[in-house]
């Protein structure tokens, strides 16, 4: 089993705040791995560190065999990323943004690939609209497209279904499950436990920056327990500890 993502004693502090505290986890190739946790538990900070957007205060991490501290741009070159908040540049149209991404990532045949995504996510009528004028949902579709258009071996997504309507959520879940079946890996961060239980093969639970649990979803569900009740009891116990 090849490990594609590994964090060893990863830490991040912002002043006095310990955002991530000594987290060690690994993700195998072909997994759809979910990083779960309540708001403010450190999920976004973890993704930012794993994609080289911010530097860890301590520990180390490698993604697809690349050290995220030594070569953050190299990591971002290999993976697909959907950040939690960022939106595409204001004054490019949706199509131009995909051309921009293709030019930076050196992706060939962008026109054809972009058209496929516009049709697949049902926003072809918006391809010439400036990004600043797109609705939040359409911006999310565009961000989803830019993360997968180069078919990366690993995609890291912060809250993948946020801003999508139920039909689009269903389509995207199906796509993610199909994507890992092709041998690729997806690392998502979410606090929507039903989604995690439905599509993830493995999970890690963060609370107040610390890792409470990591393992396969199947193990939890095998005990006739839902992921949500397992998660809630774990977090509540930690809160009172």
């Amino acid at each position: 089993m090849t490990i594609v993502l590994e964090a060893r004693n990863l830490k991040k502090t912002y002043g006095d705040v310990q955002a991530v505290n000594d987290v060690t986890l690994s993700v195998a190739e072909g997994a759809l791995f979910g990083l779960l946790g309540p708001n403010g538990s450190g999920k976004t900070t973890m993704i930012k560190m794993l994609t080289g957007q911010i530097r860890p205060t301590g520990g180390s991490a490698s993604v697809l065999g690349i050290d995220v501290i030594k070569d953050p741009v190299g990591v971002r070159n290999q993976v697909g990323i959907i950040p939690e908040q960022e939106t595409p540049p204001s004054f490019l149209s949706a199509m131009e943004y995909l051309h921009f991404v293709a030019a930076v990532r050196k992706i060939p045949d962008i026109e054809k690939k972009a058209d496929w995504w516009f049709d697949f996510l049902d926003f072809a009528d918006k391809k010439d609209v400036l990004c600043k004028d797109l609705s939040r949902g359409t911006r999310q579709k565009l961000m989803f497209t830019q993360a997968f258009i180069h078919e990366p071996a690993l995609a890291l997504i912060d809250e993948p279904l946020i801003n999508f309507d139920p039909i689009m959520q269903d389509l995207v879940k199906e796509y993610l499950v199909g994507y890992v079946k092709k041998g690729r890996t997806i690392f998502i961060s979410t606090h929507i436990l039903e989604v995690a239980e439905e599509i993830c093969s493995g999970i890690a639970i963060l609370h107040k920056g610390s890792l409470l649990h990591t393992g396969p979803v199947a193990e939890i569900v095998a005990g006739n327990e839902h992921l949500s009740s397992f998660f809630l009891s774990l977090v509540r116990k930690d809160r009172h500890a």
Binding site: V73, R76, P89, F91, E96, H99, A103, L130
Partner: protein
């Protein structure tokens, strides 16, 4: 109104203190105070070469310039400001969620900015001068008058550009008509009086001979300009969809000779589609420099031959270096965080776009040289202007990375910038005064510029990108 205004004042403080700490921001006016206080002690020395009245002209011109540089509120589209501050939800964009009109929020925003500029620049400078006045033999009444007339000079610049930028945001034709009327009036005044119209600048007149009538008249003019500008302000429409055919792909091909063609193409489209290219060129470059020319011309007799052209080339170089803020105002690092782009690459690409924009000052100085009857010195003047601009921008990039507009209020940043740029300006002013063609020696600034660029790239790659 008071609640929103109070909240905006706090917000502005936090935007800066989040970036570089409360103390560094709080010390900014202290530094301006110190500069004015210590600078005042040089006045007796300077008076031997330059009459006091002319020094007053320089200071008032500087504050008029400050007002002009910050007054382009009419150009503030919501999206531009949003990108500039990352994903921060500023109160200025709360019209969609609060029962307040865009106009009302915008008025508060402009007043808040004006108050901040007053406390950061105008008041500390005036206070420094007042405190130093007993030691340099300036009567206290004269010293007390200076902060008042400087405030008026600042407000004239601010309100003048505010109204012109709001006219521009509504109709480019209306702007050009307004400018034509302004230029005709300016030229008419010059022809009928036979004097440089800058001499009739109300704050200068008040400084020479204060009268309550003229003071109240100036205040009324300012209030009128401000009121019209607020009424004309056109909030960015929400819900409209602007469509463009793919211009990016062909632009990348055309810019393929540059180091980072996709990034340069994106910056070019940002500038073009936001209206900033024309707007900023007019309001942050051409207009201030044209006005400065008239003020500097008053000092012409005190400069050596050709000195006016070279001092103007240096001034233009400094103003041209601020074009870096035009290309960095559209985005912080955020939108690039999901792409294989380093902060250093982004700085390099912004400076590439900046380099293209330098065509504007180069052509401008060449034209000024020709019109001033100094065509023979056009080349050294252009070289000096560009050398100063590139040097100043690399210092700025080293000190502030991709956030020059915010980090300039970090006292450490501004002090270092003033020292590093000030030394170079002094040296090359002296060199060009010694002989016009000596200004060509400013090409040596390419060496420190290159070094500062390397330092900038290494420095900003080593820290987490700033955001809110």
């Amino acid at each position: 109104m008071p609640e929103l205004f109070h909240a905006m004042m706090k917000e502005e403080w936090r935007v800066h203190s989040t970036m570089f700490g409360s103390l560094s921001f709080a010390l900014f006016p202290v530094m301006i105070f110190g500069i004015a206080f210590m600078g005042a002690f040089l006045l007796p020395l300077m008076r031997s070469n330059l009459p006091a009245g002319n020094l007053t002209v320089i200071v008032h011109a500087s504050y008029l310039m400050l007002g002009i540089m910050v007054g382009g509120f009419g150009l503030l589209g919501n999206e531009v400001m949003n990108r500039r501050f990352g994903q921060a939800s500023l109160l200025a964009y709360s019209a969609r969620s609060l029962p307040l009109s865009e106009q009302f929020i915008f008025t508060n925003f402009v007043v808040k900015d004006t108050v901040y500029y007053f406390f950061l620049w105008v008041l500390p400078f005036g206070s420094g001068y007042i405190l130093a006045s007993p030691f340099i033999g300036v009567p206290v009444t004269d010293a007390l008058l200076l902060p008042l007339t400087l405030t008026l000079a600042f407000l004239f610049g601010l309100c003048g550009i505010f109204i012109l930028s709001t006219i521009y945001a509504r109709s480019k034709t209306a702007l050009f008509v307004s400018l034509a009327i302004f230029i005709a009036g300016w030229a008419g005044m010059s022809i009928f009086t036979g004097e440089n119209p800058a001499l009739f600048f109300p704050p200068l007149l008040l400084n020479h001979a204060f009268s309550w009538t003229n003071f109240l008249l100036s205040c009324m003019v300012l209030a009128l300009l401000f009121g019209i500008a607020i009424a004309l302000f056109n909030p960015e429409s929400v819900g409209s969809e602007k469509k463009y055919r793919n211009a990016f792909a062909s632009l990348v091909k055309r810019l393929s000779f540059l180091p980072n063609p996709p990034l340069a193409a994106k910056d070019t489209l940002d500038l073009q589609r936001s209206g900033s290219l024309v707007g900023q060129t007019i309001f942050s470059f051409l207009l201030p420099l044209c006005i400065i020319w008239f003020f500097l011309a008053l000092l012409g007799p005190y400069f050596p031959p050709h000195g006016l052209l070279f001092i103007f080339a240096i001034t233009t170089g400094v103003i041209a270096s601020t074009m870096y803020t035009w290309v960095t105002m559209f985005d912080n690092f955020g939108p690039y965080a999901c792409l294989p782009v380093a902060v250093s690459t982004l700085i390099e690409s912004k400076l590439t776009t900046f380099a293209i924009l330098q065509l504007v000052p180069a052509i401008f100085i060449a034209i000024v040289a020709v019109f001033a009857g100094e065509a023979a010195y056009a080349l050294p003047a252009v070289v000096l202007c560009l050398a100063v601009s590139f040097y100043a921008v690399t210092v700025m990039a080293w000190l502030s990375g991709l956030s020059p507009s915010v980090l300039v209020y970090d006292v450490k940043v501004l002090a270092t910038y003033l020292v590093l740029v000030g030394i170079v300006l002094t040296v090359f002013t002296a060199v060009s005064f010694a002989g016009g063609y000596y200004a060509l020696s400013s090409v040596v600034l390419a060496v420190p510029s290159w070094l500062f660029l390397q330092k900038a790239k290494a420095r900003w790659d080593a820290v987490d990108p700033a955001g809110f």
